[in-house]
Amino acid sequence: MNVITTQSLTKKYKDIIALDEFNISIPENKIIGLIGKNGAGKTTLLKACAGRIRQTSGEVKIFGEKVFDNLDVLSKIVFVDEESQYDDSFRVKDIFALAACYYQSWDDDLAQKLIKHFALKQTQKYKKLSRGMKTQVNIIIGICARMPLTILDEPTLGLDAAVRKDFYNILLRDYMNHPRTIIISSHLLNEIEILLEDIVLIDKGKVLMNVPVEEFRNYSVALVGESTFLKEFVQDKEVLDESSLGNASKYVIKNEITEKEKKHLVSNSIDIQSVSSQDLFIYLTSKGGFYEEF
């Protein structure tokens, strides 16, 4: 069963098109990474899926039903916003008391452990918390709500590297014990990659790619070597990025090289390198040519 299905989903803000005829299907019980540049439409998509905004046209269905103002569906979703989203005048303990009321599957034991782990003061007011502490409150709610659809929009903003690592471990462990559909949007693809099963790459409000993470990792290769040879070799290939220094060039191409071609490259002293997911994300979503202007 698909948890999220969108059909020609379009969202416009005046004359800006945030989502443009967006089509996607997301199956249940997977951790999905939503990747895209700033302004690609990630947050708009997540807000539409969480029933926070209405689409201009098209359709978004969660668990097979329309989501906007539908309590049956909304009660199966927890949405952790990148911005602070709870009442500023409330104390931390009040916010957790509310979460315990609203979410049927709320795990209070885990919440208490995480509050202790993150050393959050429960009597402190939400507005007095630092950016990182607010994020910690948000992610505790995101994890402990244990909703069938957990949406985390930039969940690690303001956290230092050690706490981010903690969060990834806690999330993964909880997911193993309580499988559910988790969507994480993040700029830090290299960090969240180990959590993900599928990657959805979006750009300018459209889906560029929706593939298993292994397929994404193997999507491209980098060829490094003598410029003239490589230039001729990549003529009929899809080049994602190219750079040169003196007589040597580096071409990042779509990984469609046959075994025969590989042998041919190696015999001509061409180095075949893997491309990190983070770099691939940049190659796929950048126009290129920017640096040449400087």
């Binding site: 209405r54 103002d69 309590l71 009660s75 979703i77 709870y86 609203y102 979410y103």
Partner: protein, 240 residues
């Protein structure tokens, strides 16, 4: 079919949310009212030193408390409809209907609690001024409140507070959603009431009533209608 547990959870959560809102609202208003009572007492004591006689009525705190609570309710109505407040409420799984119904329930219970708090402060005024009157011949303290007048005042204040809260909630919901149009309509309505006598009569007919039963009935219906009206901009409202 709707899962009744989801609805139950939404109402439970929302009412707890409104309880937190009203708790701080009532606490602040109660402190202000109490401070005014003590201030009034101190002023009376000081003035007594320089005057020959003075009288005080013990309905003072009830009026002061009522006005303070009305002002607090007005401020709350304007803040509670703000974008950030709406976002905070809709951060949890609720729908627009549960929000609207809970808001009305919270207004009814919140106003009741406010009046009960004022009632609890009233004896402090009575005790303070009774002690002062006992020790000074210059002060005459008049106890105007009887159980009957108190009950009538309590019920009519309650329905007025609910109606006042509903008017402001409805007004601010429209202003937040359709700012310019709403402001023009409100300004036109106020000018019309001032200009045309018959409109003023309608307002008087709706909001002033000798019979307590009729007053409760009229203000109850007005509050209900205003809350239904406030639901119109809420129905399609985005909370991003």
């Amino acid at each position: 079919m709707k899962n009744s547990n989801y609805i139950k959870n939404a109402y439970k959560g929302l009412l707890l949310n409104f309880y937190f809102d009203y708790k701080s609202l009532i606490s602040v208003s109660a402190i202000i009212t109490l401070s005014l009572v003590v201030f009034d007492f101190l002023v009376t004591i000081i003035v007594l030193q320089f005057s020959n006689s003075m009288s005080n009525e013990n309905s003072g705190v009830l009026v002061v408390g009522f006005v303070t609570m009305l002002i607090a309710l007005g401020i709350y109505a304007s803040l509670s409809t703000s974008k950030s407040e709406m976002k905070a409420k809709f951060a949890f799984p609720i729908n627009r209907m549960t929000f609207a119904v809970s808001n009305l329930i919270a207004l009814i219970l919140g106003s009741l609690t406010m009046l009960m708090v004022i009632t609890m402060i009233a004896p402090i005024e009575v005790v303070l001024f009774s002690i002062a009157a006992k020790f000074s011949d210059k002060l005459i303290y008049v106890n105007e409140v009887t159980l009957n007048t108190y009950l009538i005042g309590f019920i009519s204040s309650w329905v007025y507070m609910i109606a006042f809260g509903s008017i402001l909630h409805c007004m601010f919901m429209f202003i937040r959603r359709y700012t310019l149009v709403s402001l023009i309509v409100i300004a036109a309505l106020i000018l019309s009431v001032i200009t045309f006598g018959w409109l003023g009569n309608i307002v008087r007919f709706l909001f002033l009533e000798q019979s307590l039963f009729m007053l409760v009935l009229k203000l109850g219906v007005i509050s209900l209608v205003l809350n239904v009206l406030a639901f119109i901009p809420t129905k399609t409202m985005e909370v991003a």
